[in-house]
Symmetry: C2
Subunit: 188 residues, 2 copies
DNA sequence: TCCATTATTTGACCTTGGTCAAATGTTCTT
DNA sequence: AAGAACATTTGACCAAGGTCAAATAATGGA
């Protein structure tokens, strides 16, 4: 299941020194505290966040309710994809669910670097492809699985999510109400 | 709404002659008849299909039922994304819904061409980004809109879909049963 | 044109999951 | 340790959409 992420990591490891240096030179490490917003709605997502430690999530508001669209753990890349890609205001927030440390890369600096270091362009493509595949699978799950099945799937595939994240957030990530999730948990 | 597609088209138009020639040299035109399968489940999606005329769709089977995941019209690029990207067996079919003419590009030939013509790499990235954005919006719709709202949205945004495609297919594309779609249509 | 086939509609009933409200548990402060 | 604030569970009821079955269109051949 992680094959493509592995491929990207291998690609990163195999990058030549110059390219890696260029990438490092436009990145910087930063800490956020639990509850901090790395990106707010209506801001343009002008940087990508590579999670070094901690947990974060992306969500939007739908008549007052927070709908979680993605959860980020170590080595995940947090970005509001449409906002980042088109450099237009984001409908999503990115929030630290614990204290987190991230490596931040500026969008424009990365665009510039891609021109000089073509391997970064390939990396960019790989990340976009990975995200597309991830999205297709998420869509597939919503089409083919019931709420219970989706919960069991996450429980099997990513138990750390269930253990570390409040149920309200998990419920919205699964696309169900908090009460329904609680009832699903009540029976096995 | 079409801004990114426009951007891609402009990019294509602005491609230098050498790159365009290279792209043409690895592409060929082909006709399919209504009902033909351009890609079958379990096949590796080894080529991309640029629709020149006609209509096609992508779908998979979920306990015997066909779930339509994408509809293709003129100037759309038909591809089973995960299968194409990872060159692994597809869970989806691609089917001609009318007689269609497509421009076919071989996966491996395109990969090779990207090495010689870096602008094709940028094109590849743009297509992946476009697909990702499209997927995010589709997911957003499923999360925030009722069946009726999704139908009205498609009716407003893409009336040609409603006019030309059988309701069974539209229903599965909207993620609802044929009967529910029929009832939605009954009341305005 | 007439039949066979396929599309669409309609009815009756059921299931999943949502909503509102209240009851418990937990945690973090001070 | 006592609250305040938040997290989770439970109950009662509701609504959207699904399923199964049958009735009507609509369409393409021979």
């Amino acid at each position: 299941m992680n094959t493509y992420i592995d491929k990207i990591n291998n690609y990163l490891k195999a990058l030549d020194n110059d390219t890696l240096k260029a990438l490092e030179s436009i990145s910087s490490t930063k800490n956020y505290k639990k509850g901090d917003l790395l990106l707010k709605q209506n801001e343009v997502c002008g940087r990508s966040y590579w999670v070094l430690s901690g947990i974060a999530r992306k969500y939007y508001l739908n008549d007052g309710k927070e709908i979680t669209t993605e959860l980020y753990f170590e080595d995940d890349l947090a970005v509001s994809f449409e906002s980042y890609t088109l450099q237009q205001p984001s409908r999503e927030f990115i929030e630290a669910l614990s204290d987190v440390t991230v490596s931040i890369t500026n969008y424009q600096a990365f665009q510039n670097a891609k021109a000089s270091y073509p391997k970064l362009l390939i990396l960019d493509l790989m990340l976009a492809e990975y995200h597309g595949i991830w999205l297709e699978n998420r869509l597939f799950q919503f089409h083919t699985m019931s709420a219970t099945e989706r919960y069991l799937d996450i429980l099997k595939r990513s138990p750390h999510i269930i253990q570390t994240i409040p149920l309200t957030i998990i419920a919205s990530y699964l696309g169900i109400s908090l009460e329904t999730l609680s009832r699903i948990r009540a029976k096995i």
